[in-house]
């Protein structure tokens, strides 16, 4: 092992740490995913955006029945799972092209900021699952109005 200089005042480490905190607001929770990966063969595409009040997760799930979707939030982990069922097993059908993936899926995201778990909402429209996670009051940016006396 080589000796390395110690820079106590270096900001590099701190910057990195801050970056990692911000990047991990909405991390894919790999631990949970690998645990259950074996029986899941596809993953829907997901976008995550943040507004001042909430996190918005949008997952592409075309052609799925609402009853086949499951959303859970536990220990800061948001988990979406479900199944896309294949509708045709007809023998008289000749398959010419098969690009769509069927079967079970499962994705988990670690939400590293405080959200109001009771107010999480989900909607399914045009094949998109939209989950809104409202931020807790204490993490919302606060604006303070300064009154200027006459």
């Amino acid at each position: 092992m080589k000796l390395v200089h110690f820079y106590p005042n270096s900001l590099n480490g701190l910057t990195k740490e801050i970056d990692s905190v911000f990047n991990s607001f909405f991390d894919e929770s790999t631990r949970v995913n690998t645990e259950r990966k074996s029986d899941h063969n596809w993953q829907p595409r997901v976008d995550v955006r943040e507004t001042e009040d909430a996190f918005l997760l949008v997952a592409e799930l075309p052609g799925i029945s609402k009853d086949d979707l499951k959303i859970e939030f536990e220990d800061s982990v948001l988990r979406i799972s479900g199944e896309r069922k294949s509708n045709s097993e007809d023998e008289n059908i000749n398959v010419l092209r098969s690009e769509r993936v069927f079967g079970k899926f499962n994705r988990s995201f670690k939400v590293n900021t405080r959200v109001n778990a009771d107010k999480i909402e989900a909607g399914y429209e045009n094949g998109l699952l939209t989950i809104t996670l409202p931020k807790s009051e204490e993490v919302k940016p606060k604006s303070i109005k300064v009154k200027v006396g006459k």
């Binding site: 607001f25 909405f26 949008v58 799925i64 008289n92 690009e99 045009n126 094949g127």
Partner: protein, 146 residues
């Protein structure tokens, strides 16, 4: 590096092979896959004795965002998905979805009833039913023995 003889015919043959491959395969040629369009939605195509069934995944698009045309036996599905990112967003943490224009073109292997093509859009899934023209349907003839 050694010098190699240039055979001008070779390139031409490979182009011809490519073209043949395009035209020969039922339904497979995405003739314009390689152009400047940004993304390719997944599609399933199946065939039975009456016609073809196409299912294309277009989550987040509406009926008016998609255009389907049939010209000279080429069926083209095209449209655009617009980004939903708004000004009020303070941060974007993950972008896996694809945005922008798409276009896919398929060569129909047999004659179809172009006026009977029917398309529906439900839950982000575009379903197109293409009935075959009468001439190409296998006809069953009952022979009665007196």
């Amino acid at each position: 590096m050694s010098l190699v003889r240039w055979n001008p015919g070779k390139d031409l043959f490979s182009i011809q092979n490519d073209m043949n491959r395009f035209v020969d395969r039922f339904f497979s040629p995405d003739l314009f896959d390689q152009d400047s369009f940004g993304w390719l939605p997944s599609i399933d195509v199946s065939e039975d004795k009456d016609g073809f069934l196409m299912n294309m995944e277009l989550p987040g698009l509406k009926k008016d965002d998609v255009n389907i045309t049939l010209t000279d036996g080429l069926l083209t599905i095209e449209g655009e998905r617009k980004s939903e990112i708004e000004n009020k967003d303070v941060n974007v943490h993950r972008v896996e979805r694809r945005y922008g224009k798409f276009r896919r073109t398929f060569k129909l292997p047999v004659a179809v009833k172009s006026d009977k093509i029917d398309a529906t859009f439900k839950d982000g899934l575009l379903t197109i039913n293409i009935p075959k023209a009468e001439v190409v349907k296998p006809k069953q003839i009952d022979v009665k023995i007196s």
